[in-house]
Amino acid sequence: MIRFAQVSKRYEGGFDALTNVSFSLDKQEMAFLIGRSGAGKSTLLKLITRVESISRGQLLVNERNINRMAKRQIPNLRREVGVVFQDHKLLNDRTVFDNVALPLVVAGVGHRESGRRVRAALDKVNLLNKERLYPLMLSGGEQQRVGIARAVVNRPPLLLADEPTGNLDPELSDEIMDIFHQFNQFGVTVLIATHEYRHIDRLNKRVLELERGRLVRGGTGEED
């Protein structure tokens, strides 16, 4: 599903965020991406959705070569990858329903079909009764669940999450991780960046560890 081959990312100004990262994530696999703040976790996720472009190496996502992709192809790529953000990135002037429906509106899914899918997604995160509320009326955990519903509403084969439990207490944090685990069991490939090592022991999944831009654990050993 994802294949990094000696990928490096250098930001303008010369900061090396990632150096020679190589690993692959198979279809329906679930993995945790760990490391301290600044180790390059967010950058790695941003490369996958082409929010940032790679400086060197090769990156395949769903058998597509990301760095050779034309600009107008980027929206299609992003529709195939659901992303959950630490700060939710919800639209506060729209209802929960409208927020979750956004990826479908953007993709031009018909009205009836999109209503059905939004309710299905909200049902999976247990927020069906809050579809008419606005994001700011919800708790942090609920907002994050809205973000998850939005990420999965058009059934992407790949789900990325960047510190999805960052601001939550342990109990809510477990709840969120369990939701991701469930999606993985339904066949979605999941990659979660986190610094909460607790989940790793609890869910017993593959671990990729970054340290100052280098993959020190879980890679495919293509490093030179």
Binding site: R72, P75, L102, V106, G110
Partner: protein
């Protein structure tokens, strides 16, 4: 296909909603556009009206030939017949000295006082009406010059030379209006693109999120383009309202003024053609402005 139109209708409604959510600033923008568009429209109508008026005078292109005193009526009649042979001349009318005096008596109001004159001081004259096809000023001028050389003729003059001059001036004014309209059109583009720019910056987060979840540029652009077109349209309607109010205010004095001259002239207000031109211009400028703003600022907004 239906789905496509439905989606456009949704975007249209959403754009209207966005404008309605900030009624104050929308109203101000629309008024600014209205005033900017009203100015050239009014000048255009003014020029148009004066042109129609001058054309109606030109349609009656005529020259007067005053004969020398004491030319016998018989000779005058033969001259008139001669003139009718010319292809340029459609008709001619002989006014004998007696007729001229009678007309002068009734129109001048001197009435009986003129009876005191021992002899008629007025000359006989021939009024010439030109064929429409031959009413070009150079033809008329040549003919008038030729008539002047005839021995019977005291004075031949073309009555409407000043109309011709007016016509030339009008052409000049028309061009000035055109230039002014172009400049004000540019002002409208700047006004609208500025409001669109603010709208884009206000919705920066939203645009970022849309891009993150796979919205195409076209999709993101659409509501802003609609917003520009709607503002242009509302501005055009506002301009129309301003112009009609101004015309209403001017109509009375204009009718009075015109009746002091020959009278048979009605001001033409906003016709369907003017209105549609105004609306098309407004929408077009709005679209152009939105397009410019969107092209510039949407590219700058990229998710981080």
């Amino acid at each position: 296909m239906i789905e496509y139109f439905l989606r456009h209708a949704q975007v249209l409604l959403a754009s209207l909603g966005q404008l309605a959510r900030a009624p104050g600033s929308t109203l101000m923008t629309v008024c600014a556009i209205g005033i900017t568009l009203a100015l050239p429209t009014m000048l255009y109508l003014l020029v148009d009206n004066v042109e129609v008026m001058s054309r109606s005078w030109q349609g009656r292109a005529q020259a007067s030939v005053f004969l020398k005193q004491n030319i016998p009526t018989k000779d005058a009649q033969s001259l008139q017949r001669d003139l009718l042979q010319k292809p340029e001349i459609q008709s001619s009318q002989l006014i004998t000295a007696d007729q001229a005096l009678a007309e002068f008596k009734t129109q001048s109001g001197f009435g009986r006082a003129l009876d005191l004159l021992e002899e008629n001081p007025l000359p006989a004259s021939i009024v010439i009406h030109f064929n429409d096809g031959h009413s070009h000023p150079s033809i008329i001028e040549a003919l008038v010059a030729e008539l002047q050389t005839r021995p019977e003729v005291d004075l031949a003059q073309w009555d409407m030379a000043w109309v011709q001059r007016l016509h030339v001036i009008l052409k000049l004014v028309q061009r000035a209006v055109f230039v002014l309209a172009a400049l004000l059109g540019l002002a409208v583009v700047i006004i609208i693109s500025n409001t669109i720019r603010l709208a884009i910056l206000n919705r920066r987060d939203e645009i970022e999120i849309m891009k993150l979840i796979g919205a195409t540029d076209r999709f993101i652009r659409r509501p802003f383009l609609y917003g520009g077109v709607i503002q242009g349209l509302l501005g055009a309607l506002c301009a129309m309202a301003i112009v009609s109010v101004c015309l209403q205010l001017l109509d009375g004095p204009v009718v009075e003024l015109v009746s002091l001259y020959h009278g048979d002239f009605a001001t033409s207000g906003i016709t369907g053609r003017t209105l549609s031109l105004l609306v098309v211009t407004g929408c077009g400028l709005g679209w152009l402005a939105a397009r410019a703003a969107v092209g510039r600022y949407l590219r700058q907004i990229q998710p981080k």
